[in-house]
């Protein structure tokens, strides 16, 4: 039962990552991202149930608040201020190719993770490739999407993946460590949100690929 719940949560994590690649509407992307936050919290909750550790339940609740509540809310606020440009119209790699690349990245993640799994085989560590795939897909979003906001989502996807891998490998990252990482992410998002607003105020757009003059 527990293993099935764990696999379900991991599946949701992977599916939401791929969905973010697929959809172009920024509003939808943010909603999917919130869903992924729920999936991540569920993953930690399942681990907490398996371990019977009360502080893990606390971490799960924290993740739910931050990644399914606060961060999507911040992103939505940034989007609402943006006005017209609410679509990822021309990604550097088109959607079909992106989905194919996601498949290749998944294969790559499965190809490199056996040594990690072999260190301590358990249902949780079997799911490490899923976390790594989310990391790689997040990176891919960062590289190929033009809007500042979708870049931000890519960064958060990367962080979700890292958190997932962390919990799957060690089960109990200390409460303090997790709190520190979460605070970091929150700060980064706040800074990037301000930066996005500034970019829009200065250049009237948030297409980062247009900003080519900022080099030595």
């Amino acid at each position: 039962m527990n293993v099935q719940l764990l696999d379900l949560a991991c599946g949701a994590l992977l599916l939401t990552a791929v969905l973010i690649l697929w959809r172009r509407e920024l509003a939808v992307i943010i909603r999917v991202f919130a869903l992924q936050g729920v999936a991540l919290a569920a993953l930690v909750a399942v681990l907490a149930a398996g371990e019977g550790a009360p502080e893990l339940w606390g971490v799960a609740a924290g993740i739910l608040v931050l990644r399914a509540g606060v961060l999507p809310w911040l992103l939505r606020r940034a989007l609402a201020r943006g006005g017209a440009a609410a679509r990822e119209t021309r990604p550097l790699v088109n959607v079909a190719a992106s989905l194919l690349t996601a498949a290749v990245l998944t294969l790559l993640a499965y190809a490199v993770s056996p040594p990690l799994v072999a260190l301590a085989p358990s249902p949780a560590t079997q799911a490490i490739p899923v976390g790594m795939t989310v990391v790689l897909i997040g990176f891919f979003v960062l590289v190929t999407r033009r809007r500042a906001l979708s870049q931000l989502v890519g960064f958060l996807l990367l962080d979700n993946g890292i958190t997932a891998v962390g919990f799957l490998t060690t089960t109990s990252v200390g409460l303090l460590v997790e709190a520190g990482i979460s605070l970091d992410v929150l700060l980064a998002v706040l800074v990037l949100q301000i930066l996005t607003t500034r970019i829009r105020e200065t250049f009237g757009d948030t297409d980062l690929d247009e900003l080519r003059e900022l080099h030595d």
Binding site: L92, L108, P115, F140, R212, H215
Partner: protein, 666 residues
């Protein structure tokens, strides 16, 4: 807790408290509070160093204070000498800073960093593990860099000097760190005790020695790595220049002696021949550049390269003698080198502080625009004169004693076994002698052209004497110079204890009599004889002149009207013969523009003479490297076209590439 530990602890606490005071005390009182605090820090460091020299060693370790390596401090005789010297310099510089820093140096950061710099320099020789040493060394480098940059708003050259200093000091640090880390890895522990008991293979020991030598030599301003020194020392505030030139560069020597003699227990001959050659080349080249330089503080900076070169000649000779089993001669040579460190610290403090006083009173460092300061700045003139005498290796001077001792060691080393020694020693003697001669010319120029005759610029004409606190700082350094010149026997036992070879002299109070080598010198008697001789000559001349009737008349001036300041020797013209003799070495670039009258080709309207002496080592060695770095940079620019996606893409493709490589090769 013995005196050494207590003193060092008190010094550290006082320094940190003064740094905090520099942050919170209001602007008006800041310079006074920080200056006093720094002087007290130094005053606590001196007894700690002296106690260590007297045999009170201590060591403490706090394993939990720093991750991985922990913190270990300890003071032995060698470290004690450098702690005492640094403390002494800090006293003079701190007192001087009370008056000097009141003029535009009261910024919070500058004032707070100054005592921290002193603390860092006190802690470097007291470090007893590689980790602690690296942290203290880096603290010293960073604080001194901030101090060099203190006046960056006023002069654009400061930024360039700071860049040179930052790059070279950190490159030096990297080589030292690599050397010590390799050493620690082979020794299986990073405390100096573990390094001492390690047995390294010949190749590893050589690599460690050469790497650390490169780093420490760059800190000491030794030849190919000296380029930062004549840039950073003139641009730093003068009391900081004094600390850097009289205390910080010494720690380069400390590093070489610590690693070479103490941790690696000496080594093969070629190590020490290398040290000796570097030292001799630096001594001659440094004093040559000083002799033809017109900037007063740059001249003093090059003179630092010269003096540290002489110290390395002594260190190299000591290593060479120790390697061939002559421990007595090694003791004489190392004691000479360390005594020269002490002497150089005393007179270079005095000279840099006096140069700062000139800069404060006239607003210029250019010797060609100075002159005539005898009337307006009598105390500074007198003190600089004393410093110039101390620096010029003539009998009543401070440097004379240590250079005499050094020459004794080199000359008595001639019959020593080995072809290399037989060739190296006469060359070293020649280098030391040439250096001494050029040093006299240099300091006659600095003092005669800079302070005597008529003022050649408006700044010099309107000069004013410095405030009492600055004069007190200089006075203290002058007293140290005097004591070291007349009674070197008071410090020699301490210096000999630091060298670890035993006292080379028989321990008489007035006369230096070398114990196992023929050689005797009595500076006090020498000074008395010189003074008596001068007094008698003066009395005779006065007596003879008094018989003739006196006649007041104008000086013969070829009928060209009253003599003006433009007819004086300038620094450029004074150095011209030296420059001409060493033309092939320094390669000066001269430019003479002659304007004729329109009516006649034979009548000259104006002659403009310009001379630039580029640092030749720098041109040959640094410019190709800098050009290569620039070419590499512009080649790399095509990779960075400004697209954020491209930059992110580099990371993404690299990660994927590494993962694929892992998946394929495993």
């Amino acid at each position: 807790m013995n005196l050494a530990a207590t003193g060092l602890g008190v010094a550290g606490t006082l320094g940190v408290v003064s740094a905090l005071a520099g942050l919170v005390v209001p602007r008006g009182a800041r310079a006074a509070v920080v200056g006093t605090g720094t002087a007290l820090t130094g005053a606590a460091g001196v007894p700690a160093g002296v106690a260590a020299l007297a045999g009170q060693s201590f060591s403490v370790t706090w394993p939990g204070l720093l991750p991985l390596s922990g913190v270990a401090f300890g003071l032995d005789t060698l470290g004690g000498l450098f702690v005492a010297v640094t403390g002494g310099v800090a006293i003079a510089a701190g007192i001087y800073g009370i008056g000097y820093a009141r003029h535009g140096l009261q910024a919070r950061a500058t004032q707070a960093v100054f005592p921290l710099f002193v603390v860092a320099m006190l802690l470097v020789p007291a470090s007893a593990s590689v980790g602690t040493f690296a942290v203290c060394w880096e603290l010293m480098a960073a604080t001194s860099l901030l101090l060099v940059l203190a006046e960056h708003r006023r002069r654009p050259e400061v930024a360039s000097a700071g860049r040179w200093y930052a790059v070279m000091t950190h490159l030096g640090f990297v080589t030292v760190l690599i050397g010590l880390v390799v050493f620690a890895a082979h020794a299986g522990g990073d405390s100096f005790a573990a390094l001492r008991s390690a047995h390294l293979s010949g190749a590893t020991a050589a690599a460690v020695f050469v790497l650390t030598l490169a780093g420490f030599a760059s800190k000491a301003g030794i030849l190919p790595l000296h380029a930062w020194l004549p840039r950073a020392h003139p641009e730093a505030p003068s009391h900081v220049s004094a600390l850097m030139s009289a205390a910080m560069v010494n720690l380069g020597v400390y590093g070489i002696v610590r690693v070479g003699f103490d941790l690696l227990h000496g080594g093969p001959r070629w190590w020490w021949l290398l040290v000796l050659a570097l030292g001799a080349a630096s001594a001659v080249y440094g004093i040559l550049q000083a002799a033809i330089n017109n900037d007063l503080k740059r001249l003093l900076g090059y003179s630092t390269t010269e003096n540290l070169g002489l110290v390395l000649v002594g260190v190299g000779a000591a290593g060479l003698f120790a390697a061939s089993g002559q421990r007595v001669l090694a003791g004489v040579a190392l004691a000479a080198a360390l005594l020269h460190v002490v002497n150089h610290a005393a007179f270079k403090t005095l000279l840099f502080l006096a140069a700062g006083s000139v800069l404060h009173g006239t607003g210029t460092r250019d010797l060609d625009h100075l002159g005539g300061l005898r009337r307006s700045m009598p105390v500074t003139t007198g003190l600089f004169g004393l410093g110039a005498l101390a620096a010029s290796a003539l009998p009543p001077g401070t440097a004379f004693v240590s250079e005499w001792l050094l020459l004794q060691a080199l000359i008595h080393g001639l019959p020593a076994a080995g072809v290399a020694t037989a060739v190296a020693m006469p060359l070293a003697v020649a280098a030391v002698a040439l250096t001494a001669g050029l040093a006299v010319a240099t300091f006659v120029k600095a003092f005669g052209v800079g302070f005597l005759a008529k003022p050649r610029g408006t700044g010099a004409a309107q000069a004013h004497e410095s405030p009492p606190s600055m004069l007190a700082g200089m006075g203290l350094a002058a007293v140290a110079c005097g004591v070291l010149a007349v009674l070197p026997a008071t410090v020699l036992p301490g210096v000999a204890a630091a060298s670890g070879f035993g006292d080379p002299t028989t321990g008489e109070a007035v006369t230096l009599r070398l114990a196992d080598v023929a050689g005797t010198l009595s500076p006090l008697v020498l000074v008395l004889a010189l003074v008596a001789g001068a007094v008698i000559t003066l009395a005779l001349v006065r007596g003879l002149l008094a018989r003739r009737a006196r006649r007041e008349a104008r000086l013969w001036d070829c009928g060209a009207g009253p003599m003006s300041a433009r007819m004086e020797y300038t620094a450029t013209s004074f150095a011209e013969p030296v420059q001409r003799v060493f033309d092939d070495v320094v390669r000066p670039e001269t430019d003479v523009d002659v304007d004729h009258h329109d009516e006649s080709r034979y009548l000259v309207q104006a002659v403009a003479y310009r001379r630039r002496v580029p640092d030749r080592v720098e041109r040959r060695l640094y410019e190709p490297v800098l050009a290569a770095a620039r070419a590499w940079g512009s080649a790399g620019r095509s990779l960075a076209n400004g697209s954020v996606h491209r930059y992110l893409g580099y990371g993404f493709y690299t990660v994927c590439g590494v993962l694929i490589l892992l998946a394929v090769t495993r």
